[in-house]
Symmetry: C2
DNA sequence: CTAACTTTGCGTATCAAAAACGCAAAGAAT
DNA sequence: ATTCTTTGCGTTTTTGATACGCAAAGTTAG
């Protein structure tokens, strides 16, 4: 007990909701807690803010330490500051969300060797603390974000087909799109490069691959461009 | 020095960006700091989170204590957690924004008796800490919010004219609208009640007054209604 | 090898909303 | 009475969203 202050201070933590996409469904990365409270209950990766790191840095550090995930797209979500959200005492948490290509990391379903694993967003186990509430906030946020920012590309491999992109949008927004309208709407924005390459070893007609053109996107946003689907 | 912890903890504070509207321009409520650091420099009302209040409650309490403003529309904005944002040491702040009818509170420009006052958003004095950055974040947020939520009505008197509403939208979004298109677009959403009352003592043709129908708005949002302008 | 089938890629027709704008009535100022 | 500004209610034009037709690519089945 070495750190003392004139007034009591809440502890400050971060938690991170990591979304992944497996080609058909949206997944969330959870870790099983090894200590009380909520021992053996799943929770989002997170932990306490160190005094010599920014809150953003804390979120990235904790994510890496607990799951090995690093160098990913991450944004602050919301700060949860209710009094009784942690039975250990007063803990305020700054929640983040991250988007990753889930194939880059764990096998789906997790392994026994690892305490971290992917879960389908509609088949989640009970969550510790107020993490259910955090998840709902995160879900709403990406549904809003994907409509006017090209965050979807963070969830796909660098090369992807139009159908894969559409399936992702349908999974996130929980609705269907017309294949032809979706394609022309995305293509006419100009943020996709069509590659001279097709998918191999596929049943029926092989689709062409495409990739996200980040330079073109940045150029368009500066001109006041809107990415709505 | 009575409160000690095993690990060092950042101090946790809130700050609130209060927007007001005076009929033609958007204003921001600032308080002049009476103590170091940044003594005599303007800042947003705010202060440290008490151990027995939620973060939301802290934002409301500090706003009331420093400016007398209470019972207003308020939302969490963003948490600023850089290491060196406060010269006193590590302070993380959860920023909020609030919308008020500025006529309900202070005279514009502030008085000598009060340390709090309204400033035109484009003529602000230098701000303490990283409050310039907080302001930019808040400005972007209300520009986004006003397009799909009827937050504009929080900034007007209960009875207002269509031209007043349009002037507000133009001030917030920093663009002009066609008077006739703006009016019909707002009216066809059904969230406005047209009152059997006209503005008095006005040059030229007197416009009718209207008011926001909150029940109708809630009903429409539940049906999946979108308020975009 | 041919026919059937699925997916892709590109097009057009139809419908709804956004933007531009015409015009006369209300009502004060001259 | 005339002029002037603002209001209120429309129509026309343009743009974008949605629905859907159809043939080519390429695999599967007979």
């Amino acid at each position: 007990m070495a750190f003392e202050y004139e007034f009591p201070r809440p502890a400050l933590a971060t938690d991170c909701v990591v979304f992944g996409f497996d080609g058909s469904e949206l997944n969330v990365l959870l870790v099983k807690r090894g200590i009380e409270p909520y021992i053996n209950v799943y929770a989002f990766p997170g932990g306490f803010v160190h005094i010599d790191e920014t809150v953003d840095e804390c979120a990235r550090r904790e994510l890496y330490e607990e799951t090995g995930v690093k160098d990913v797209y991450m944004e602050q979500l919301y700060t949860f500051g209710d009094i009784d959200r942690d039975p250990r005492g007063r803990v305020v948490t700054v929640a983040y969300y991250a988007l990753v290509r889930s194939t880059d990391y764990f096998p789906h379903g997790g392994t026994d060797a690892s305490q971290a694993g992917w879960f389908k967003i509609n088949e989640l186990p009970p969550l510790a603390f107020d993490h259910k509430k955090i998840l709902e906030t995160a879900k709403q946020r990406i549904q809003n974000q994907i409509r006017y920012r090209p965050i979807g590309f963070e969830l796909l491999d660098q090369k992807f087909t139009m159908t894969q992109l559409q399936t992702l949008y349908e999974a996130v927004l929980e609705r269907k799109f017309d294949r032809r309208n979706f394609s022309s709407k995305i293509l006419k924005t100009g943020v996709l490069d069509i590659l001279d390459e097709k998918v191999q070893n596929v049943a029926y007609r092989a689709p062409r691959l495409m990739s996200f053109n980040r330079e073109r996107y940045l150029q368009l946003t500066q001109e006041g461009f809107n990415f709505e689907i």
